[in-house]
Symmetry: none
Subunit: 195 residues, 4 copies
Amino acid sequence: MTTTPLRKDAARNWDRIVAVARALVDEGTPLQLNDVAKRVGVGVGTVYRHFATPEALLETVAAPSLEALAAYGAAAVADPDPWRGFEGFLARTVEAQVGDAALAPVTAAGADALPRTTELKAALRETGGILFERARDAGVLRPGVTAADLMPLMCGVAYAVEVHGPGTGDPDRVATAHRYLGMLLGGLRAPDRRD
Amino acid sequence: MTTTPLRKDAARNWDRIVAVARALVDEGTPLQLNDVAKRVGVGVGTVYRHFATPEALLETVAAPSLEALAAYGAAAVADPDPWRGFEGFLARTVEAQVGDAALAPVTAAGADALPRTTELKAALRETGGILFERARDAGVLRPGVTAADLMPLMCGVAYAVEVHGPGTGDPDRVATAHRYLGMLLGGLRAPDRRD
Amino acid sequence: MTTTPLRKDAARNWDRIVAVARALVDEGTPLQLNDVAKRVGVGVGTVYRHFATPEALLETVAAPSLEALAAYGAAAVADPDPWRGFEGFLARTVEAQVGDAALAPVTAAGADALPRTTELKAALRETGGILFERARDAGVLRPGVTAADLMPLMCGVAYAVEVHGPGTGDPDRVATAHRYLGMLLGGLRAPDRRD
Amino acid sequence: MTTTPLRKDAARNWDRIVAVARALVDEGTPLQLNDVAKRVGVGVGTVYRHFATPEALLETVAAPSLEALAAYGAAAVADPDPWRGFEGFLARTVEAQVGDAALAPVTAAGADALPRTTELKAALRETGGILFERARDAGVLRPGVTAADLMPLMCGVAYAVEVHGPGTGDPDRVATAHRYLGMLLGGLRAPDRRD
DNA sequence: CATGAATGAGCCTTCATTCAT
DNA sequence: AATGAATGAAGGCTCATTCAT
């Protein structure tokens, strides 16, 4: 965890690279380190020095969203209402996924490029697990679900939003994400119906 | 619908190309026409003659699954129980998606390379719509869902299965798909709980 | 010169191929035998049977223009006014070149694909030679020009028209061709000036 | 006009690429960047880095001729004799076209790949225009010609030389070019003849 | 004679990554 | 540290021509 602090100019480059990468991600352009370097106005080598692979850069771009999610999760755990904490966390998760194009690939990737990413993903899984268990123990969850299903399901909701409609950045996307999450939570089937 | 029948030798190549493509799709290799040609043992031109683009080949590979799904859908419409028809169709849909790696890209693609694909997708949407309306009219669906949500939701379920675990072909995948579909239909939330 | 007469159906194909090729030339599409075959609705083999190479087809397409020019030339030779005969022939030549996109490549080509083309070109050279000599002997030509310069100069005029402006088919082209030919005949320099 | 100076090694490659391209142009081989790379002994990417398209390379190869022509034009404008300036410029122009196979395609191309090419072509047009107007105002030009005709006519002369005979590089070509230009300037028709 | 499937060399272009400067 | 030139494998696609049917 102890990283040698960057020299001031190096830190400045780091920031500019990440900012440009963020902009590229937002506009849907695939991250190419050559391209990033050109836009930042530094050499490719500099970008490679800071980020060994495109994935590392992408994970760095995604990190703030993951951090924010983790922070929210920590607060949700403190919520006295188990369901509200659980639901809120899931809502934030899908909001983040549909609002930040960097998240989907990072979340779905099998291997992480940065240890920090692995930590964050683990923390989120952990938080999700805690919230899940609290909810389950409170009896507000249907049986059959496990904590390990949460991440895939949230990715699924985000993907459904993707398939449904307009590209990242459209305001409707968040509404759709909430609708879809609501469906998953409440079920598509009318509650009074029993087979 | 009347296609000039291929000469015997051409038909043989067509079959071999599709077979190789199917194998590549199954092993997760991206479809590259040069590559396909090499593996089939024909010239690139032959592959291009049969399939103008990688998408056309992929859609051809995916077609049987789509056809089977459409056939099932036609039968489901005849099911006297609206819910069973609806649920069965969705189940088949996610099974297909999870069992055939060619489906996800074809389903998610905005533009189709082959008219047949467009027809099949339209037919599936149509069938889904009919089953959906029957279920809704029978009062077995929660309000707030629309027919246009079905396709995205099924894609979402399939994607969740993908994120969850083992690659295409694993038998567990179908079980997981059923579990996830069940969650979506019934809701994650315990039915007796009301906010 | 004795060609086995074609069977009726073969002759029909020959005609249709040439007609399609003419249309392609007129619209500026490069002549590709596969393409021609597709548009005619015959197999490539058939086209190849009739025309061994793209050049042979192009020369066949160009032939009528060359024939017409040759016929005009024969008449021009009979003109009692040597200058008028000469000038008229050149005018027709450049008109043909700017009006028929098939001519430029055929005229400029070093080797001919068809004997008929060689004959026609020779005939035109011959006619040009006669007209040239008549004009020269009548003293209406400046010294320094030779008969062998005529063909290149006419090609040059046609090319100048090409560089100048709108593509084949535009009515202005003929006017421009006449203007340029007029410049060549009369000279750019004011006639009263002597160095 | 301020271009970042290339690094020494890069400049060396640039030079070698242009030199090879020049040789290819001289021997009439069409410019293919892969081919150029192979002959220079560098990777394709290197050639693409320096010249984004074959046209850009060709224009670079042609540039010195255009520069020389522009320089000559600037001097010609200073010539006290309007006709001599005009004629000299045209003579240099056809000499250049006939001596450098890179010029014809660059001159005839509608769109330029390099801004420098556009500048040079504009400068030449401008110079031609000035020389033309001086000559016209001095009364040494026949009416009916416009400045916009000069470029096409010079291209036409060069093309006529091409059609006439031996390939680029042959010494006779220049002589022929002068002959043809002379014909254009003085007219093919004997001066004493009036219709 | 006609067919049209097959061929495959050939050309273009991109981009992740390395390494000399 | 930073630079950015160089690399070259990789992939895409076209088209003139042949030859089995």
